[in-house]
Symmetry: C2
Subunit: 335 residues, 2 copies
């Protein structure tokens, strides 16, 4: 069907090997034959067969990215950054979303094991982490390098980790609120480290932790909206709420606003991530900036190094990015 190297070789009266060399710009080949082969390839509209090349080169020039969902702006922004980084080295990205399902992650691990990608970035948390991590280690040992983003493992030499300090981030947000007069501070979202940071800030400031102020739900706007509905049933609202991501924060705000509770006048809402939208929401969101683009870029760079079998220095094996609280209009100081 499609033209192959063989077709070209025949037409140019050279061997397949020579044709291959010529098309791969080997200097070994005579300039005249080089030109001839190139010309014929052009005429025949030749494109090398990636599948065949992948088989012999043992490489697909493709890397896999596993994230919970594409619809989540945080991961979309990170994915974009990763894609742009690897593109420069001629790699393509295969985007794999798990929809927060553990089986899906497993599917991808096996897919990668089949040699579909030259390396992978995992940016997912979830159940079965220990078991899956074992399989991922297996993958790495079978020569498919992996980098983790915001995911832990006990062996950084095998799998480098790019992250921010989740505990510290939550601590800083809570601390900021406390410094601005808040004492009744709620927290929304399921993240052990984050919750610990939040609690630590409270206890460091001698504020009693009220478990009624801690909520869980999906990390989506809808999830936030639902928590908002629950909040409304509370006898007395906290004066501030920290949300695990900006989308939840928006959901909460929407929910409260609909019930005529004003943000930030009646309650301060702070998000995490600083997604593109957060600056443009009404009110614009106070949020913890996570350098997703930079993290994605770094993860991609480290992965490419790994794929090229370059050694990583020890400070490339665990990289903790700094975060920054961006104060906008969804939070305020109280007396």
């Amino acid at each position: 069907m499609s033209t192959t190297l063989k077709d070209i070789a025949e037409k140019a009266n050279v061997s397949i090997a020579t044709a291959s060399l010529a098309l791969n710009n080997s200097e070994k080949v005579n300039h005249k034959t080089y030109e001839k082969v190139k010309k014929i390839a052009e005429e025949l509209n030749y494109t090398p067969n990636a599948r065949a090349r992948a088989l012999v080169k043992k490489a697909t020039e493709t890397i896999g990215l596993v994230i919970p969902e594409v619809e989540n702006p945080f991961f979309a922004e990170m994915a974009q950054s990763i894609k742009n980084t690897i593109k420069e080295s001629g790699y393509n990205l295969i985007l794999c979303s798990t929809e927060y399902k553990s089986e899906e992650e497993l599917r991808y691990i096996n897919l990668f094991k089949s040699g579909l990608v030259d390396g992978a970035i995992f940016a997912c948390l979830g159940d079965m982490m220990e078991e899956h991590n074992k399989m991922i280690i297996d993958l790495v040992k079978n020569n498919t390098p992996v980098v983790f983003v915001d995911r832990e493992i006990n062996n950084y030499t095998l799998i480098p980790v790019i992250k921010t300090d989740l505990f510290e981030g939550a601590y800083n947000i809570a601390n900021y609120l406390i410094n601005n007069g808040h004492k009744k501070i709620g927290f929304i979202g399921q993240s052990e480290e984050r919750v610990e940071g939040y609690k630590k800030a409270l206890s460091d400031n001698n504020i009693k932790i009220n478990d009624n102020y801690i909520f869980y739900n999906f990390l989506t706007i809808e999830g936030g909206y639902k928590v908002g509905q629950k909040l409304l049933k509370l006898a007395k609202l906290p004066t501030a709420i920290i949300c695990l991501n900006d989308e939840m924060a928006m959901g909460v705000i929407q929910s409260l606003t609909s019930a005529n509770i004003k943000v930030p006048e009646d309650i301060s809402i702070i998000g995490i991530d600083n997604i593109r939208m957060s600056e443009y929401y009404n009110p614009s969101l106070t949020t913890l900036h996570i350098p997703k683009k930079e993290m994605g870029k770094k993860a991609a760079e480290i992965l490419l190094k790994r794929i090229n079998r370059e050694k990583l220095s020890s400070d490339e094996q665990l990289i903790i990015f700094p975060t920054e609280l961006i104060v906008r209009k969804s939070s305020r100081t109280i007396n």
Copy 2:
């Protein structure tokens, strides 16, 4: 490195062929050998080499999706739907974003031509369409089926098209506004068909078209924000503005709101797409619902049919999805 069929064949004392047959659940193979081979494969933690299989099967079980950018919620939602649809048939999605650059699209066309995917969905508009379409037709003739979403071509038999009626959608929005008392209606966004629909609605209602009320910018929140800044410099604001997508609408709203212009009291803003966020924005967005999920699903189904060489009925070659105006709080009736 990794275990191969050969390893298994040797350990099981059968030929490679038999091992292959057994693992592919052929009925030809003796039950005992079947069991033996399966067991050994399990023990050796065998995963077939996708690259080798792809070469001989001439198929990668992967399909490509070309969109402008992942960060755009419209495409993210559609991508998710496509992914979920093809997953059921065992296919994987390779997500290709062009960042609105024509060269990027070209890159992907060539990539696909190399046999990386079994089929592709193109959901991008842009420059060089005619030239690229020729190459895409070439791709199709070389046995890589393609489906277009919101993109035109003159040969539906070769490339099926899934779309909504852009003209009609814009016409309906403008008409709705007019029916609700608006006469000074602006339009933001670069889309010939949309603009035509908008203009037709105005002229059908004997409203003079004011070119000062038509703006262009990137289809992002930032783009909308910038247009908002321009609007503020106008001698008199229109009473309503139609935006080419919801993000632009949000950007415009944010921009106007910051200048103390109230939406919808002072001006009505209507978006297009009905992205997840639009319901939760403040104010919630009046917008034209585009059934992205359904469109993505249908595109995927049609593509799979094509890949499986099933014939398409003529009404599967051009599918126009209906749209629906969702009235929320960013627009109002005036006298």
